[in-house]
């Protein structure tokens, strides 16, 4: 069987899928909102480059960077029974939640199935795998990814059901999975070195 995660080759990203046309980056314009203001039940804070980014996530149950497949806690299952092919099983997986992941400056998109992960840490690990140039950088409880080659930091953000762009990690994990429509790893202009504005690709 093919491996679960795609193998990342040493070729430049240009050989992968180019689907930028389908993602309208005009939609990702940031708007400011007063902190604490929310539309529905449950707090929601939109991502703003200005506001100090502190994570309120209490749902990161594990720190292990392994993809954990969710399994329904039901009767003990017999291998290969009922005789349903793996392909069909995967297709009919309840709540299969594929979202596109875009990286600022990179010409390609990847997709992740949020149902495969049970917490933010695992999701970040997945990003590490998908975009092998990144390493996770947790500074003062902030969730960031860093490209060690040039020190550029990327902050994971997502578009929710209402069309707002939020910081990944703000809400409990399950709420995030339910409301997340797509993810964007946004370049944090505050690079590690501070001085240079680095452009990628």
């Amino acid at each position: 069987m093919a491996s679960e995660t795609s193998t990342v080759t040493s070729e430049p990203p240009a050989t992968a899928v180019v689907a930028v046309g389908s993602l309208n980056f005009n939609d990702t314009e940031l708007t400011l909102r007063l902190p604490g203001e929310s539309r529905k039940s449950g707090e929601k804070r939109r991502f703003s480059g200005m506001i100090d980014l502190k994570l309120g996530g209490n749902d990161r149950s594990d720190t292990e960077c392994s993809v954990v497949k969710k399994s329904t806690p039901s009767k003990e299952r017999v291998v290969g029974w009922p005789p349903v092919r793996s392909y069909r099983k995967n297709m009919m997986k309840k709540d299969c939640k594929y979202v596109k992941v875009a990286v600022d400056g990179a010409p390609y998109l990847r997709k992740v199935d949020l149902e495969l992960y049970s917490g933010y840490q695992q999701l970040l690990c997945a990003f590490e795998d998908l975009f092998s140039c990144f390493t996770i950088r947790n500074v003062l409880k902030e969730m960031k990814l860093m490209d060690p080659v040039n020190g550029t930091e990327y902050v994971p953000t997502y578009e929710d059901k209402d069309g707002d762009w939020m910081l990944v990690g703000d809400v409990p994990w399950k709420m995030f999975v339910e409301s997340c429509k797509r993810i964007r790893l946004m370049k944090n202009s505050e690079a590690i070195n501070g001085s240079e504005l680095l452009k990628k690709c």
């Binding site: 069987m1 093919a2 491996s3 795609s6 193998t7 050989t15 992968a16 899928v17 180019v18 689907a19 046309g21 389908s22 329904t72 039901s74 009767k75 299952r77 017999v78 291998v79 290969g80 029974w81 009922p82 005789p83 349903v84 092919r85 793996s86 392909y87 069909r88 099983k89 297709m91 009919m92 309840k94 594929y98 390609y108 998109l109 997709k111």
Partner: protein, 598 residues
């Protein structure tokens, strides 16, 4: 190696299991064949069925030779039953190959990875023996990107590639096919364990590619470039089968359909949009030009709002695959109302018994029904379909021949009724999802159910049984299933007698696959004289020991007796997974460490 030399007629036939040499003793003087060889070959070239061709080849040496020179397509049901060298030596002019590899239970994770069935050795031999190979259809084979690249670059007239339940390759391999196969007419990728690295492969079809007739990428997850797809579809005027993946939206489908009104089989993408304001009207006429459409599949996430879009083509549909659309009973009923010509229907059990009632009342011509479980493992939440739904279908669809039915409850009486209503079953596979479950009303074993099937349905070729079954079921099978070729058994039987009855009583048995049954050594060895007439036997989690397997291997050198070791290696005297098959190629040379050939 045979050449194209017209003087090739007198080459010796290769010694095979069915070899002519041991059977016929014709000499020149007794030859009574009045036809010149060329005429004979021409006549034989009209025979397609490989079974008929096998028979033809056994008549006499002349016919054997004429048959082998005229054969264009070879079907190899078990890749280890013969070697590529033997095939190439016997059949010099092959253009099309169908090759099947792993045992069927590998579909259900019962066969470890790296078991084998690598296609590459076949491609190597074929590249010199059949440089003009046009078609390759693989099922349950291990295929690497390197192999796909080799295929694409070694066979210059290559036309059709079909990969079903294969694994080991990625979309990079598809890139090679798309880029290099200038005459490609068919690319059919189904349900494979594929490493999906993105949809860029589709963009690799060059502008000069205009010959595609079949394109199926429904099971690939990544987005392809819609622009490339649209251009490809518009320039391939002979396209008759197009199966899209889930990423193609409804409005994109609409655009595509404008370019291919000649389409006969369509697999849609996602069959709904997320817009709120008046969307359906703009899709109303989407199918109005598709006058040749006979098959529709896909319909991912179809909702009641959007299903009516396909109503205009329903009247002429003969095959409708709704097994990925979670429809409820009323949605299905409304849809089927328009589908009076259906011959084949695949569903999810979300439609419930009520949905099946609609099948019975709307589809009198139905020959094939498959009902898959939407949620095979979650028993608490949804019942799915029951015996009642199946009976409804049988009442309305007397022409049913082929059924696959997953359910959570069944009764003997219901199956007996079904058998009476549909005596023409050729394929009957009933899966009661809870292992060893009895008739839920009478609490009796389900023996009488399958007894009724084998007694009434004399044309039965394929049978899969389930539920609580005693040896009685197998007695019935042995007594009555005289045309049965394939039998699948799980969690059934009491003793060796069960398996013995089947092996003794079913003359046409070719494939027997058994798991988790109390059949032991006596049962295994009772088939000693039978296995060479079969393609294969699979037994896993039964009561067979290594010694019995060794004995079988020793008595029957023309069988390959393979035992797969369990990972823990707990009990070395037990044979946990046994795979027995006839072969003229001898023991496998590529067996991994966990496969022991006795």
């Amino acid at each position: 190696m045979p050449t194209m030399d017209p003087n090739r007629k007198k080459s010796k036939p290769v010694d095979l299991v069915d070899s002519v040499d041991s059977r016929v003793e014709l000499t020149e003087s007794t030859r009574s064949c009045p036809f010149p060889d060329e005429v004979l070959e021409r006549v034989l070239s009209l025979i397609d069925s490989h079974k008929d061709r096998s028979s033809v080849s056994l008549v006499c040496k002349d016919w054997y030779n004429a048959e082998r020179w005229s054969r264009r397509h070879v079907f190899i049901g078990n890749c280890y039953s013969v070697s590529p060298e033997i095939v190439a030596a016997r059949f010099p002019r092959i253009r099309s190959v169908t090759l099947k590899g792993k045992p069927r239970f590998s579909d259900f994770n019962l066969v470890p990875e790296d078991w084998g069935a690598d296609v590459h050795p076949w491609l190597s031999v074929f590249s010199s023996a059949y440089p003009f190979l046009e078609e390759l259809r693989l099922k349950r084979m291990a295929v690497s990107d390197e192999s796909l690249e080799f295929l694409a670059t070694s066979f210059h007239g290559f036309k059709a590639l079909s990969l079903l339940s294969c694994d080991g390759f990625s979309t990079d391999g598809l890139k090679a096919i798309a880029s290099h196969c200038k005459n490609l007419t068919e690319l059919d990728i189904q349900e494979n364990g594929i490493d999906d690295l993105g949809g860029h492969w589709l963009s690799c079809f060059p502008e000069s590619q205009t010959s595609l007739e079949v394109l199926n990428f429904a099971s690939l997850n990544s987005e392809v470039s819609f622009d490339a797809l649209e251009k490809l579809v518009s320039r391939c005027k002979s396209l008759r089968v197009l199966k899209l993946n889930r990423n193609i939206s409804l409005d994109q489908l609409q655009k595509l359909l404008l370019h291919c009104p000649q389409l006969m089989e369509l697999g849609t993408g996602t069959f709904m949009q997320e817009l709120i304001s008046g969307p359906v009207t703009e899709f109303k006429n989407m199918f109005s030009n598709c006058r040749k459409l006979v098959t529709v599949s896909g319909l991912w996430d179809a909702t009641p709002l959007y299903l009516p879009v396909i109503y205009p083509v329903c009247a002429s549909l003969t095959f409708l695959n709704l097994s990925y659309a979670t429809l409820q009973s009323s949605e299905l009923a409304n849809l089927l109302f328009h589908c009076r010509s259906l011959r084949r229907l695949w569903l999810l059990d979300t439609v419930g018994d009520k949905g099946l009632e609609a099948v019975g009342s709307c589809c009198p011509l139905l020959e094939e029904l498959r009902v898959f479980p939407a949620d095979p493992f979650d028993q608490e939440i949804f019942l799915g379909v029951t015996e009642s739904g199946f009976v409804s279908v049988s009442r309305g669809c007397p022409k049913l021949r082929h059924v696959l039915y997953f359910c959570r409850q069944m009764t003997n009486a219901a199956v007996a009724t079904i058998a009476r209503n549909c005596p023409d079953f050729t394929h009957f596979r009933l899966c009661i999802m809870n292992p060893g479950q009895p008739d839920y009303l009478t609490k009796e074993p389900m023996d009488e159910a399958f007894g009724a099937i084998v007694k009434t349905c004399t044309k039965l070729q394929r049978l899969a049984v389930s539920g609580l079954l005693t040896d009685r079921t197998f007695e019935y099978i042995g007594q009555h299933a005289k045309n049965m070729e394939t039998l699948s058994v799980a969690f059934a039987g009491n003793s060796d007698l069960g398996m013995e009855c089947v092996l003794k009583g079913c003359p046409k048995l070719r494939k027997l696959e058994i798991r988790d049954c109390p059949f032991g050594n006596a049962a295994l060895l009772s088939g000693l004289t039978k296995y060479e007439s079969m393609r294969s036997l699979w037994m896993s989690a039964c009561n067979v020991t290594m010694n019995a397997c060794r004995m079988l291997a020793k008595e029957k050198p023309r069988l390959n007796v393979e035992v797969m070791r369990d990972e823990e290696g707990s009990d070395d005297s037990q044979a946990h997974k046994v795979y027995v098959y006839r072969s003229v190629a001898g023991p496998r040379r590529d067996a991994p460490p966990f496969v022991l050939t006795l």
